[in-house]
């Protein structure tokens, strides 16, 4: 029974999700609010269930997954983030007469998939978790069936995602073929037996390429701006937060557990990917006029910084990745919630950056919150995003990667420009048409809370987060 106790959160999500699907099917449109709130409760329940065995049981099911603190740290970020994505969608789809019940159910299934991803210690469970999350995500991207852009986003995501899954599977089969095992520990010992063979190296490259696609790391980022722009905003908020954490944590476990003896091999890849993501994410964002597209590039840019920490390797590297993601998620969710509130008098969503002009005069609170998120994403102190960046650079320097760290930090200056542009539009420009009133106290509260968390008050959390992330990172080794 203990092994079932170890996967309690996943079971809650899987069974709960199935029941909710039935509720959604029979209650119809009227039940959407009920389903949404039940889904939020399920996610919070799964978060609460992380206490105890699911965080300390270690490898279960013959090493298919590991219920350790590292996975729990990720889940404790992802589940609440998924819940926020559900809350963000309240009254969003009703506006254009869509069903919204299934939305919450799909998020639940995606969360279950992500949960398996971060726990996976075998190539098989890795793939199953990834596909469960991806399939739910494809549907979510095209959730607004009547909207051409949404359908296009879904299709694009699906085709490119399928390609990436193929690449991933190819890498998995190569690794299995050359090491004779799908188990992370087994792969690690195979890599530890001297110089890896060409087949193993190819397997490593393809595996990482597949994961890089899911985490939208340059050069596998192409889908990101289109999907982020086309998908309904609550879905974009979801994509930018929880699945990103899952993919990054998955990459961390693969690199630092399965591929630990081949650190020199994957580190070069990470260094290239990190710098490419930082600079492309920063430079490509310059010309954007759509706020969702801009935030897509911002997410690519931020993933680059996480990879700086990952390239640092070791416990410090893993801990820095966890720390960064813990700060990144409230920043990005907060920013998307602000985007969600960009609506005209009729309540229709606005997406152009120009529509933000003079927001500080028409809606000072919203503008201030948005500014906090932008400065924090840019990594400007005193906001908490700065400390997250400091932590990843600390990890890279500890590993002696000096030129890499210098190149990376110069990227923050390049990126700062476009974040400043948003501030400029909101604070310096003359006000445009005022936004319509949004009556969503829960969302407003969430914006406030996330702004508070990444304000300088967040520094009070540094000690706790540091201890937790170090402990969580240690549990993996």
């Amino acid at each position: 029974m203990t092994r079932f106790a170890a996967i309690l959160p996943e079971m809650i999500l899987a069974f709960g999700g199935t029941v909710l699907m039935m509720v959604a099917a029979f209650a119809g449109r009227r039940g959407s609010a009920l389903v949404s709130w039940l889904a939020v409760l399920l996610l919070l329940g799964a978060t609460a269930a992380l206490i105890g065995a699911p965080s300390h049981a270690g490898p279960v099911f013959d090493g298919l997954i590991s219920s350790d603190l590292f996975a729990s740290f990720g889940k404790a970020i992802m589940f609440p983030a998924s819940a926020v994505a559900i809350i963000a969608a309240q009254n969003w789809f009703e506006h254009d007469h869509e069903h919204s019940s299934e939305y919450a159910v799909l998020i639940i299934f995606a969360a279950a998939g992500m949960s398996v991803m971060v726990s996976a210690t075998s190539l098989i469970s890795l793939y199953v978790g990834l596909e469960l999350q991806s399939l739910a995500a494809y549907v979510l991207a095209s959730y607004r069936r009547s909207d051409e852009r949404s359908a296009e986003a879904g299709l694009k995501y699906f085709v490119l995602g399928a390609l990436a899954s193929g690449i991933l599977l190819y890498g998995i089969s190569l690794l299995y073929g050359f090491t004779g095992t799908t188990n992370f520990a087994g792969i690690a010992s195979a890599f530890g037996r001297g110089a890896p063979s060409l087949g193993m190296l190819f397997g490593l490259v393809f595996l990482l390429a597949g994961i890089a696609f899911k985490a939208s790391v340059v050069p596998f980022h192409m889908w990101t701006p289109d999907v982020y722009e086309g998908a309904p905003t609550p879905v974009t908020a979801f994509f930018a937060s929880a699945p990103k954490v899952a993919a990054i944590l998955l990459a961390t476990r693969v690199c630092l557990d399965a591929l630990a003896p081949a650190t020199d091999a994957w580190r070069q890849i990470m260094i290239f990917a990190a710098l490419a993501s930082i600079f492309l994410g920063a430079i490509a964002a310059y010309g954007q006029t759509n706020i969702k597209r801009l935030l897509a590039y911002s997410s690519i840019n931020n993933v680059g910084f996480v990879l700086i920490g990952l390239a640092g390797a070791g416990i410090t590297g893993a801990a820095s990745v966890l720390f960064y993601m813990a700060v990144y998620v409230p920043m990005t969710l907060g920013a998307f919630l602000c985007v969600l509130w960009m609506r005209n008098e009729k309540g229709e969503p606005l997406e152009s950056i120009a529509s933000l002009s003079g927001l500080s005069q028409t809606r000072p609170g919203l503008a201030a919150a948005f500014a906090v998120f932008m400065f924090s994403l840019a990594g400007i102190p005193p906001f908490f995003g700065f400390w997250a960046k400091l932590v990843v650079f600390n990890a890279a320097l500890k590993a002696g990667l000096f030129p890499f760290a210098v190149a990376g930090i110069l990227g923050t200056v390049v990126g700062a420009y476009y974040y400043l542009r948003i501030i400029k539009v909101m604070f310096f420009d003359e006000p445009g048409a005022p936004f319509g009133k949004v009556r969503e106290p829960v969302q407003g509260g969430l914006i406030f809370l996330s702004a508070l968390a990444i304000s300088p008050l967040g520094y009070l959390l540094i000690g706790t987060l540091n201890d937790l992330s170090t402990k969580a990172a240690g549990s993996m080794f």
């Binding site: 005193p382 000096f402 110069l410 310096f428 520094y459 009070l460 987060l465």
Partner: protein, 514 residues
């Protein structure tokens, strides 16, 4: 970690928290209330600062008023000041109420936010000078960009957007390199405490890289030629009070950084780079003075003169001897007052005529005698007339430079001459001559409010010029400690002063016979 736990009243925390809280409060009140809140709080902070000055013991421990509260993860709320920080804190506290007063009428739109931005700025500047934790310092140092960015961008002139970007990105670029160096230092020395790092000996080879990384940040902030180009734009576009704070305090952070980090933490590298700094400073003195000579815009002229004056600071600091460093500190203080006052003087006429073009004015001594008087005081101070603050600083700094390098001293001294040329020319074109424009001739003299802004600065300028001991005394021991760190590498100098052989006087001759 650092020092002792919090004992008694956390004076420095109160000093920082007061404007911060008042700034937040300002956002929720109307324009007039916000003005009064800002004024009262800055004055209150000034009073606290004076108390701090009185309580500071110049012969006591190096670090006083220490506070420490661990935050975990290698950062702590560590505050504490020495004499050097003390005088710069006084400068900040002194200028703030004047800035608020200068904005009383000239800022009409979005006043509560403006006051909030200024109060936030004050808190952050005080934090920079009081921080004793490496990363806490960085947070304060960098966070200051945000309110200044908003001040320039929202309340600035026509080209404000470009200027605000340039200011922000330029300074950010310099600072991020410093951050990498700081992380390396924290890892190597295994502490983030600034006092401990000041006593830590880094490997000489590493020092060079660290020094360059810090230099990138402080040289931009200072600003030194050739990375000064953000300054004229920022100064010209910023509202008057913004320029005062920029010139008065923000630029001093560069010099403070050199004296707090570069010199004591990397003494060997500092000595190695002395020629480099001297060359940059020499170019700055001559080149920016010449540029200032041909400006048509008053603010731009003063901005370029700031760059030239800051070169005296870098000359003095990197002479690495007592006169040089004390002189550099005095130039920083003097320039903070004088350039601030000059920007206020520009603001006075700008508020009346809404142009900064020098040619639009002339003969103001006829219709604005009070203004012409004060403007002259500050012009003379800027030129470095004996009896004013800048004379003390510039003289000491030149003496120090002369000890280190005679050539550098010669180049630096040309700056004094050129400085006199452009400042006197400016004063002549504005205050003397014929009154060319009727609207300029019709301007009323200083109002009571403007007297209240300028007269205290004039008083401080004379105080500093006539009795500089009040300001040198708290710094003396700290500069002595700094010299101990660098004495093994201080440049020998080529001036080789030798004691003279006095001619025998009659009495001496008699004594000789006896």
């Amino acid at each position: 970690m650092v020092g002792q736990p919090v004992t008694g009243l956390p004076l420095l925390t109160i000093l920082i928290a007061l404007p911060l809280l008042a700034g937040a409060l300002c956002l929720f009140v109307n324009a007039n209330v916000a003005r009064w809140i800002a004024l009262v709080v800055t004055l209150l902070d000034l009073a606290l600062g004076i108390y701090l000055w009185v309580q500071f013991d110049p012969n006591g421990a190096q670090w006083q008023f220490q506070e420490y509260q661990a935050l975990g993860g290698g950062i702590g709320w560590a505050l504490g000041i020495d004499g050097i920080a003390l005088v710069l804190i006084q400068l900040t506290l002194f200028l703030m109420p004047i800035c608020i007063g200068a904005s009383w009428r000239s800022i009409e739109k979005r006043v509560p936010e403006y006051m909030a931005a200024f109060l936030l700025m004050e808190a952050l500047m005080l934090g920079v000078f009081a921080a004793q934790d490496l990363f806490l310092f960085y947070v304060f140092f960098e966070a200051g960009l945000i309110p200044m960015y908003l001040i320039i961008g929202i309340w600035g002139g026509a080209e404000r957007i470009k200027a605000s970007y340039k200011f922000f990105l330029y300074t950010l670029l310099g600072s991020v390199l410093m951050l990498i160096a700081m992380i390396y230092m924290a890892q190597t020395a295994d502490t983030t405490s600034i006092p401990r790092l000041m006593a830590f000996n880094f490997p000489v080879e590493a020092q060079k890289w660290l020094w360059l990384a810090f230099f990138a940040s402080f040289a931009v902030k200072m600003p030194m030629w050739p990375v000064h180009t953000w300054l004229p734009d920022a100064h010209v576009q910023a509202p008057t009070a913004g320029s005062v704070i920029l010139a008065g305090v923000l630029l001093k952070m560069g010099g403070y950084g050199f004296i707090r980090f570069s010199i004591p933490m990397f003494p060997d590298a500092s000595a190695t780079f002395v020629p480099f700094v001297f060359i940059l400073s020499g170019v700055a003195v001559v080149y920016t003075s010449l540029v200032a000579l041909v400006q048509n815009d008053m603010k731009k002229l003063i901005a370029y003169s700031s760059v030239a004056h800051m070169a005296f600071v870098t000359f003095g600091l990197f002479a690495l001897n007592r006169q040089g460093i004390e002189g550099a500190m005095m130039v920083m203080l003097g320039h903070g007052l004088v350039s601030g006052a000059l920007f206020l003087c520009v603001g006075v006429v700008y508020d009346r005529l809404h142009t900064r073009e020098i040619a639009r004015y002339g003969g103001l001594s006829d219709n604005m005698p009070g203004y012409a008087l004060l403007f002259m005081v500050f012009t003379m101070a800027s030129v470095g007339l004996p009896g004013t603050s800048n004379f003390v600083g510039e003289f000491l700094s030149l003496v120090g430079t002369y000890h280190a390098s005679t050539w550098a001293a010669i180049v630096a001294t040309t700056g004094i001459i050129l400085g006199a040329a452009y400042m006197l020319l400016l004063y002549w074109r504005i205050a003397f001559g014929t009154q060319r424009n009727a609207d300029a001739a019709a301007m009323p003299d200083l109002s009571m409010r403007e007297w209240w802004l300028l007269a205290p600065i004039a008083f401080a300028v004379f105080w500093m010029g006539i009795y500089p001991e009040s300001f040198l005394k708290p710094m003396r021991n700290d500069i002595g400690r700094l010299l101990v760190r660098v004495e093994h590498v201080a440049p020998k100098g080529d001036s080789l002063p030798t004691a003279g052989k006095p001619a025998l006087t009659v009495i001496d001759a008699k004594e000789g016979h006896e």
